[in-house]
Every structure is written in structure tokens, then in C-alpha cells.
């Protein structure tokens, strides 16, 4: 769901007012059955999904029914038969994802590399070709696949009701952009669902929501307009835009995740904290433990470990493959594949060269952790350059610029400064000041070994963040970046 769209909140209100009025009245006459809560949640999720995208809703509906009945059948079988059914479901789910997300890239970007693809190939293709992927398909496909595998491995093959399954895969706060929840974490909270509007849930829900709103609308959206994609010849500008994008993508996506966490908590459901102050990391390993946690653990559990199996001596190769695939998941374009491979390569570099390097730095630098942090953050910024630039030609031009010494000339630096002079520059400076203060507060919490966002969730800080969101939210909210994935 797009929490920055007015229609999301409007439809939510239009559903909630009559539904909870009827619920309250029916409860007072002792006519309300607890199961109606589960029906209400399913209706709420499906109506909001329908409002977000009708085309996606149809695809989603077909996938829900297929997955539910196939998993139900799988649970009645044992051994090889159960594994075959699981494989069929996963092939179907991944096939749907591939069709909607990767078909055009495969034809134009892969086949097109070796042969000339006619411009109107879509017209001759036996199936309709979509230019945009249905919202949420990447996320709910992964949640469905994880459910199949976890159900196959479950010790107790207890059947699950259709309503519980619908609520598990369509839970509206997280269906479109995660967190990607697991059976063991979400299903017990969703099964036989009851709304739990306790004071504690409201309190914590609104705190997370305030934090998410601040990160998205104040930090991410005020930084977004200053990211200049078209500048390729000035190395300072290329670096600066990549730096701004690095900040934006974190505040945008973590902001979305925390809003989802807050809304879910108001309803009485605890979701995974998907980000753990990733820019405080002092190594790429640590970065991936803190960034998009639910996706990283998904790839670890359903790609890296099963691919490797008992071939543990090949773990480095499988790690690299997993990261490359993770990059590909983010988007059907070469830049995402390069981004994934780049992070995989960084992890291997760190593994084989990191320890001797750290010992070397430790001998000459009083506080080597600062060097480690700076190198990690710089590597992430460079990675963001690959991530943000979907135009392959422009990406190559930018990389050439970065390795050209005279692209770092003082006149180019002067051009960077000149671009941000005036009122716009002051807004950017203030936004950067807020963003860096935010990151320093995260660093303080990590250093004190406290929960990463503890400071921001303090009741008074949380209220201050909400007030600042009302005052300083960007006039024109930008799209959530991860909706495109």
C-alpha cells in the first residue's frame, strides 16, 4: 500500500468507520462473533489492495487460491510426493514473478545482446506483455514461497484455514513492500485474528508510525529533488548525487517499513524490524545484517543454504551467486545485477583481505573503527551509484568519470557548489543537517548497545518527530522507491 497516497487513508477510513461502528454496536448486543474480526481484516486488506491496483489484485487473487489449495494438498502427502508438490508451487510462483517482472528484460536485455529483437516483438508474443510490474508481486511471491517451504518442513502438518491464509499473505501494512514475514513469526499472530486495540498497541504503533513518517516525508522527500541523474562529466556531482541517493533510499524504505510496523502494531500485530541502523556498519557483513533484514534472511534461508547444501567448501561461490540473484530481484536491469554482484564481491574481498588489512590499519591508526566505517559507507555509496542508474550507457559514463583524475578539477567542484546556491541550497543543507543528526543518534544507540531506534521511539521525541513532519514535510512527496521492485 502506498502510505503517501491520500486514497489509501481515505479508503481505510471509509472501511473502518462503518465496520468498527457495526462491531461496537453488535458487541454491545452480544451479537459479534470473534471470527468476524478475521473476516474484517481480510476484507480491509483486499479492498485496500484492489484500490492500489486492480490488475495486481486479479493476479494476487489467482495466486492466493492456487497456493492455498496446493499447500493444503501438499500437507496431506509425505516424502517425495510432498516435495514434488512444493516444487510445483514454487515453480508456478516464480514463473508468475518472472513473467510480469523479467520477460521484457529477458527478451530485450538478454536475447537482444546476441541478436536483433524486432521493436514490436510484443505484438507477436503469445501472451500480453506488461510494461509495469504489478505492485507487491516481488514481495508477496517471496512470502508465499517461504510459506510453502516452511510448511513442508514443519514438524506438525496442521492444516490452515483459507481465511487465515488470506490474512497471512494479504496483511495490508506489509503486502506491497514488506517486511517479508515468515510463517513462524506472522501466522500465530494472524491465525483466528482478533483486533487488539490496547493502549499499549496504540502507543507503540503511533511511535513507529511517527518515526516512519518523519524518515519518509521530511528526510527522504526533501533530499530526493536534489539527486541529479543526468550529470555524468563532473565527478564531484556524480559522487554527491550517489551520496544523496544513499541517504534517500534508506530514509524512504526504512520509513515505509516503520510505517507498516506502526500500522500493524495498532491492529495488534508485531512485524519484523526491517532496518537496524545500517549506515552505522563498520563492515559490509554488518551492513547486510542491518539492511532490509527480512530480504537478507530470506535469501540466506531459501537460496544460499539450499543451493549450497552440503557443498560447504563452495560457500564463497554460492554467496556470490546469492548476492547477484538478490540484485536481480531488485529489478529487471543490468545495473541491479551489477549491484548485487558488486556486494557479493565486496563480501569476498572482505573475507580474504579484510583481516590482514584491519591488522595493518590497527598498527598505524589510533581508531581503526573510523577507517572501517568510512570505507564501508563509501563502498555502499558507490554501490548506490549502480543501483540508482538504470540507464546502462550513462552508468558506464559515470564510472569512467569517477576514475578520471581531471574530472575532480577545482572548477568542477565550483560547479557543484554553484548548483546548490540560493534558497534550494539552504533547504538541502537543512535536510542534510537533520539527516546527519539522525544518523549520529543511531550511532550513539548502537555504541551504547541499545536498540537502534530507541531514542526516536521515546514518547517525547516521537511527538517532536510528528510535529516536525507536519512542519517540514516536502510539498511534493516522491514515490516509494521499493514500489518499483
Amino acid at each position: 500500500m502506498n502510505f503517501s497516497e491520500f486514497s489509501f487513508w481515505w479508503v481505510l477510513l471509509l472501511f473502518c468507520v462503518p465496520f468498527f461502528t457495526v462491531r461496537m454496536v453488535a458487541k454491545s448486543f452480544n451479537l459479534w462473533r470473534p471470527a468476524f474480526d478475521a473476516v474484517g481484516l481480510a476484507a480491509m486488506s483486499l479492498i485496500l489492495f484492489l484500490n492500489a491496483s486492480r490488475a495486481s489484485f486479479i493476479v494476487f487473487g489467482v495466486e492466493i487460491l492456487f497456493n492455498y489449495f496446493m499447500v493444503k494438498w501438499m500437507l496431506t502427502k509425505e516424502g517425495k510426493q510432498a516435495r514434488l508438490i512444493a516444487a510445483a508451487i514454487i515453480i508456478f510462483d516464480v514463473g508468475v514473478l518472472a513473467y510480469f517482472k523479467y520477460l521484457t528484460f529477458f527478451v530485450e536485455g538478454v536475447i537482444g545482446l546476441g541478436t536483433t529483437v524486432p521493436e514490436n516483438w510484443e505484438a507477436g508474443f503469445p501472451l500480453p506483455v506488461f510494461n509495469q510490474i504489478p505492485p507487491g508481486v516481488s514481495f508477496y511471491t517471496f512470502q508465499m514461497v517461504a510459506f510453502v517451504v516452511d510448511s513442508l518442513k514443519a514438524r506438525r502438518k496442521k492444516p490452515i484455514g483459507l481465511l487465515d491464509y488470506v490474512n497471512f499473505v494479504s496483511f495490508f501494512p506489509q503486502i506491497v513492500a514488506g517486511p517479508i514475514e515468515r510463517r513462524s513469526a506472522l501466522l500465530p499472530q494472524i491465525s483466528s485474528f482478533r483486533f487488539k486495540f490496547t493502549a499499549e498497541n496504540w502507543d507503540w504503533g503511533l511511535r513507529w508510525l511517527s518515526l516512519g513518517l518523519f524518515m519518509k516525508f521530511v528526510l527522504a522527500d526533501n533530499i530526493a529533488p536534489y539527486i541529479q541523474m543526468d550529470q555524468v562529466a563532473n565527478a564531484w556531482l556524480v559522487w554527491f548525487s550517489a551520496f544523496l541517493f544513499t541517504l534517500r533510499i534508506y530514509f524512504d524504505f526504512a520509513g515505509y517499513s516503520f510505517m507498516a510496523l506502526g500500522i500493524a502494531r495498532v491492529l495488534g500485530v508485531k512485524l519484523t524490524v526491517n532496518f537496524l541502523a545500517p549506515y552505522t556498519s563498520q563492515s559490509i557483513n554488518e551492513f547486510w545484517r542491518r539492511w532490509h533484514v527480512s530480504l537478507s534472511t530470506w535469501f540466506r534461508d531459501y537460496v544460499f543454504l539450499p543451493l549450497m547444501g552440503s557443498r560447504k567448501s563452495l560457500a564463497p561461490a554460492f554467496l556470490f551467486v546469492t548476492f547477484t540473484l538478490s540484485g536481480f530481484w531488485h529489478g529487471a536491469a543490468w545495473n541491479f545485477i551489477i549491484w548485487g554482484a558488486y556486494h557479493g564481491a565486496l563480501l569476498l574481498l572482505l573475507r580474504y583481505a579484510g583481516r590482514p588489512f584491519n591488522r595493518f590499519v590497527g598498527r598505524y591508526v589510533a581508531r581503526p573503527q573510523i577507517v572501517s566505517w568510512a570505507m564501508t559507507f563509501s563502498a555502499v555509496v558507490l554501490g548506490c551509484l549502480f543501483f540508482m542508474e538504470t540507464n546502462s550507457g550513462r552508468l558506464v559514463a559515470k564510472i569512467k568519470t569517477l576514475i578520471t583524475p581531471w574530472a575532480y578539477s577545482p572548477s568542477n567542484f565550483g560547479e557543484l557548489i554553484a548548483r546548490f546556491e540560493g534558497g534550494g541550497g539552504i533547504v538541502l543543507l537543512l535536510s542534510l543537517g537533520l539527516a546527519i543528526t539522525f544518523l549520529l543518534m543511531e550511532y550513539w544507540a548502537v555504541r551504547q548497545e541499545r536498540p537502534e531506534y530507541e531514542l526516536f521511539l521515546h514518547p517525547w521525541v516521537s511527538r517532536a518527530l510528528l510535529g516536525m513532519t507536519i512542519l517540514f514535510a516536502a510539498n511534493a512527496p516522491s514515490e516509494f522507491i521499493y514500489f518499483d521492485f
Binding site: N285, R300, L305, S310, A315, L319, L347, R351
Partner: protein, 99 residues
């Protein structure tokens, strides 16, 4: 057991024996002094990465002659938690002479 596992030869229970074994392995893999390893601290703090984690579980499987979950050291991220889990879940018994 004292959190700092320097007393390798004083393991008296299966949990302690597994802790001692894990401390020794971790020290070998990461070139650390075993005396600096605190069994209650997350393994990632010592620089253990994904490849080390799966390799260590593989070695542990060989040593205990058990099939273990590959995610063991993520699900139980300290030596103390992993050792306790192994004993509770698999009823592992370890002879001190195996160390």
C-alpha cells in the same frame, strides 16, 4: 562457566564441552586468542561471516555426528546459546577426551 572461555580443560558438562570446542574452533578460524572470546557475545562481533558460520556448523556436524540446521549460528548467535540448544534439543553427550 566463566563467560571468558579460557578454561578449556575444565569442561565438566556437555554444554561446557561444546562451548570449549566452539571457542577453540572460532579462535582457529579467526586467528584469535581463545582467552579473548566471550561465550555470551554474538559471534559476529568477532568477525564471523556467513561462510565461516556454515563451515563451523559443518565441522560441528562432523564432530557430534549429527545433522544440524544450517542456520544454527544465526538462530543461536552466541556460543553459550548454541551449546545450550544443542544439548537441550539433541541431548548431546560429549566426552571431555574428545576435546
Amino acid at each position: 562457566m566463566n563467560p571468558t572461555a579460557t578454561q578449556s580443560q575444565t569442561a565438566t558438562s556437555p554444554v561446557e564441552a561444546i562451548q570449549v570446542w566452539l571457542v577453540q574452533q572460532l579462535a582457529d578460524v579467526l586467528s584469535l586468542d581463545p582467552a579473548t572470546i566471550d561465550v555470551t557475545q554474538p559471534l559476529t562481533r568477532y568477525g564471523l561471516d556467513s561462510i565461516d558460520a556454515v563451515t563451523l556448523v559443518g565441522d560441528l556436524e562432523d564432530w557430534l555426528d549429527l545433522e544440524l540446521p544450517a542456520t544454527l549460528l544465526w538462530d543461536y548467535p552466541t556460543i553459550s546459546k548454541a551449546a545450550t540448544y544443542l544439548v537441550d534439543e539433541f541431548e548431546v553427550t560429549v566426552d571431555a577426551s574428545d576435546l
